[in-house]
Amino acid sequence: MTGLLRTLALPPECRSDTVLETRGLMRVYGPVVALAALDLQVEGGECVALMGPNGSGKTTAAALICGLLEPTDGVARVCGFSIHQEPHAVTARAHLAYVPDTPALYDDLTVGDHLRLVAAAHGVAGGDLEERCAELLELLGLEERALFLPGQLSRGMRQKTAIACALIRPADRRGARG
């Protein structure tokens, strides 16, 4: 698995107990079938790892589930909302975070600013945002790098920044089970 896929646990607006569901998810590149009819169901609180040999479609599956790729066929739903169809995708995106193996970061934003931007983009405002940012940076060992630009970071630190960006998103754990 090249990326860490984190589906948040059963938010209140979930249409069902199923946090993530794919039906016949398929992706074809010309003559190459990268992913053939993936059926997957993840309940709230479950932790699922996709495992398989090289070229079996793990990365493609993750990218399709997160909406980074368009499926050739099939559907992926997060909390009952299709990730590939606007406006349903807006709600689906609110409950997804994806950390790729080579994260894309803004060259002109510091580590701390990345967290603030992602928080703003997910509607996380309020007084304790700075505290939460500091908490996350400390948790990931980035507190001394908060004012660094991506160009000044090692690959590992860049990866940690992307993980922090994934964790700063609002997570409702009230429905977490298991």
Binding site: G67, L68, L96, Y106, A120, H122, V124, R132, A162, P170
Partner: protein
């Protein structure tokens, strides 16, 4: 405990991004606008002065090519814009934007629409300005008020229509694929439009009615007001429809499309920064939707010397469109050289087309130059020999094409009979010289060498630019000059047979020299 989320709007998200960016303050933005206005003002006044001095001369010089102006030129601009939208487009985001803004839980339309709207306004008003300038240019249009207003309105509508059409190409991969597939037929159509414009009368009317590229070009005079008004109404309706569709579909573009374009742009910018033209070309090619690819297989040759031509044939079979381009350029170039061997324009044009065809067929050699270590590991020959072997197939293809072009030209009456024997004798050496020169140019890759950069950086007399141009097109200039001179000498020679033998021997000597340089290449 995480903070309670409140649904953000696209406007909030974009504002947050602007606020966090170092250049996002109002003062910084005002400074940028001021600098841009200053630059435009200075450059504009300089260009206006230059136009006053050179304009009439340039207009006079362009008189024989006026038939290309107007509908065919607008058609070609439209085609170029649509091609641009197959790999980039008017709404573009950075890779980080794709990772953080486009994955945010806000309606995508709100993030995309401002960019499309700005592009529409920019191209619309830019088109209007170009329309006004074109209508005021002496000798092109009568500068009456109605004509200027018509040109401005047509330019505005055409600009908006282009953005709307470009957006559909950008957001729908299938449409983008059709744009790529139909480029060659579209170029043929452009040639038809040129012929129609040149013919005048009913043919010119047909060209003007043939599409949006002609609707705004009707003359608005007292006697012919109706076609002009109808053309404008058609153009305005199309632009209005385009604007509405732009608004309605602004949110319906996949993240995959935006990411692919962001990656392409990042690679192209990296290529430009490192002055690597090859990297830029590869980035733009890599972004396009996969076109039609042949699945034909070819039997592996028994003779080792044929392995490289076999590999070249496989490459061509995988991208038959390139073979078609090369055939059009190569055959056309040889035909032009044979049809008008004494006219300087056709000599340079024909030689250039032949050089471009050779360069296009040498793509496998470029791939070899991209990763020279591969040949050293996989193949038994020296690097220079591998490069030489890569020249065999293009030479054979261009020779065959040349024979077909000469035969066809003679049958169609474009090439005179007395030219054919000399042209056939000269065909092989001129093709080989072109292919070898193109190979020598291609073997260096696209990156400007550091020593050239150092030389140009320390150049006190400003000849650095010339040095770079010389490095980039030196081999091409040599080959074009040699072939054009050979054809000219042959055409002006009184004794055709002895003249052609002498010229062919001269080209052969040059080919031997070029081959020696190529075989001596090291990775």
């Amino acid at each position: 405990m995480s903070p309670e989320p409140t649904a953000p709007s696209a406007r909030d998200v974009l504002a947050a991004r602007r606020e966090l960016a170092p250049g996002g303050s109002l003062l910084k933005q005002a400074e940028t606008v001021y600098l841009a206005a200053l630059t435009v003002g200075i450059l504009g006044s300089v260009m206006l002065g230059a136009w006053r001095g050179l304009g009439p001369f340039l207009l006079d010089l362009s008189r024989p090519y006026r038939s290309i102006a107007g509908a065919p030129a607008i058609f070609l601009v439209c085609l170029a814009v649509l091609r641009f939208c197959t790999w980039q487009g008017f709404a573009s985001f950075s890779e980080a934007d794709c990772a953080y803004l486009l994955t945010a839980p806000v309606p995508r339309r709100g993030l995309v629409w401002p960019r499309l709207r700005n592009a529409g306004l920019l191209l619309g008003f830019g088109g209007a300005a170009i329309g006004v300038l074109a209508s005021l240019a002496p000798g092109i249009h009568s500068a009456h008020v109605a004509g200027v207003a018509q040109a401005a309105a047509a330019g505005l509508a055409l600009g908006v229509l282009l953005v709307a059409a470009g957006w559909q190409v950008q957001r729908l991969p299938r449409v983008a694929l059709w744009v790529l597939r139909l480029t060659m037929p579209a170029l043929v159509l452009a040639a038809v439009l040129v012929l129609g414009s040149r013919a005048g009368g009913a043919a010119r009317q047909a060209v003007l009615w043939s599409g949006p590229w002609g609707w705004g070009l009707f003359s608005v005079t007292a006697g012919a007001l109706v076609p002009g008004v109808i053309g404008l109404v058609l153009l305005g309706t199309a632009a209005g429809g385009g604007w509405v569709s732009l608004r309605r579909t602004a949110g319906s573009c996949s993240l995959e499309t935006f990411r692919a374009r962001a990656r392409t742009r990042a690679r192209m910018v990296a290529g430009l920064y490192s002055l690597d033209a090859r990297a830029v070309v590869k980035a733009s090619r890599g972004s396009r939707s996969a076109g039609w690819q042949s699945r034909l297989r070819l039997r592996v040759p028994r003779h080792a010397g044929l392995v490289i031509p076999w590999r070249g044939t496989l490459n061509l079979l995988h991208s038959p469109v390139r073979l078609l381009w090369s055939a059009a350029l190569g055959g056309g170039g040889i035909l032009i050289l044979a049809a008008a061997p004494t006219r300087p324009g056709s000599l340079v044009g024909g030689s250039l087309a032949l050089y471009l065809a050779a360069g296009s067929l040498l793509e496998p050699l470029r791939l070899e130059a991209d990763a020279p270590a591969v040949a050293q590991v996989l193949l038994p020959w020296r690097y220079g020999t591998v490069l030489w072997l890569h020249c065999l197939l293009p030479s054979a293809i261009l020779t065959g094409l040349g024979l077909v072009a000469l035969g066809g030209g003679w049958a169609a009456g474009l090439v005179e009979g007395w030219v054919i024997p000399g042209a056939c004798l000269l065909l092989v050496p001129q093709v080989v010289v072109m292919v070898l020169a193109a190979a020598l140019s291609a073997r260096r890759g696209g990156r400007l060498p550091t020593n050239i950069l150092l030389l140009t950086a320390g150049d006190p007399i400003g000849a650095g630019g010339l040095l770079i141009v010389g490095w980039a097109v030196g081999w091409a200039l040599l080959a074009i000059a040699a072939v054009a001179l050979a054809v000219y000498v042959l055409a002006s020679s009184a004794a055709v047979l002895s003249g052609s033998v002498t010229v062919a021997l001269g080209l052969c000597a040059l080919a031997v020299l070029l081959r020696r340089v190529l075989v001596g290449s090291t990775p």
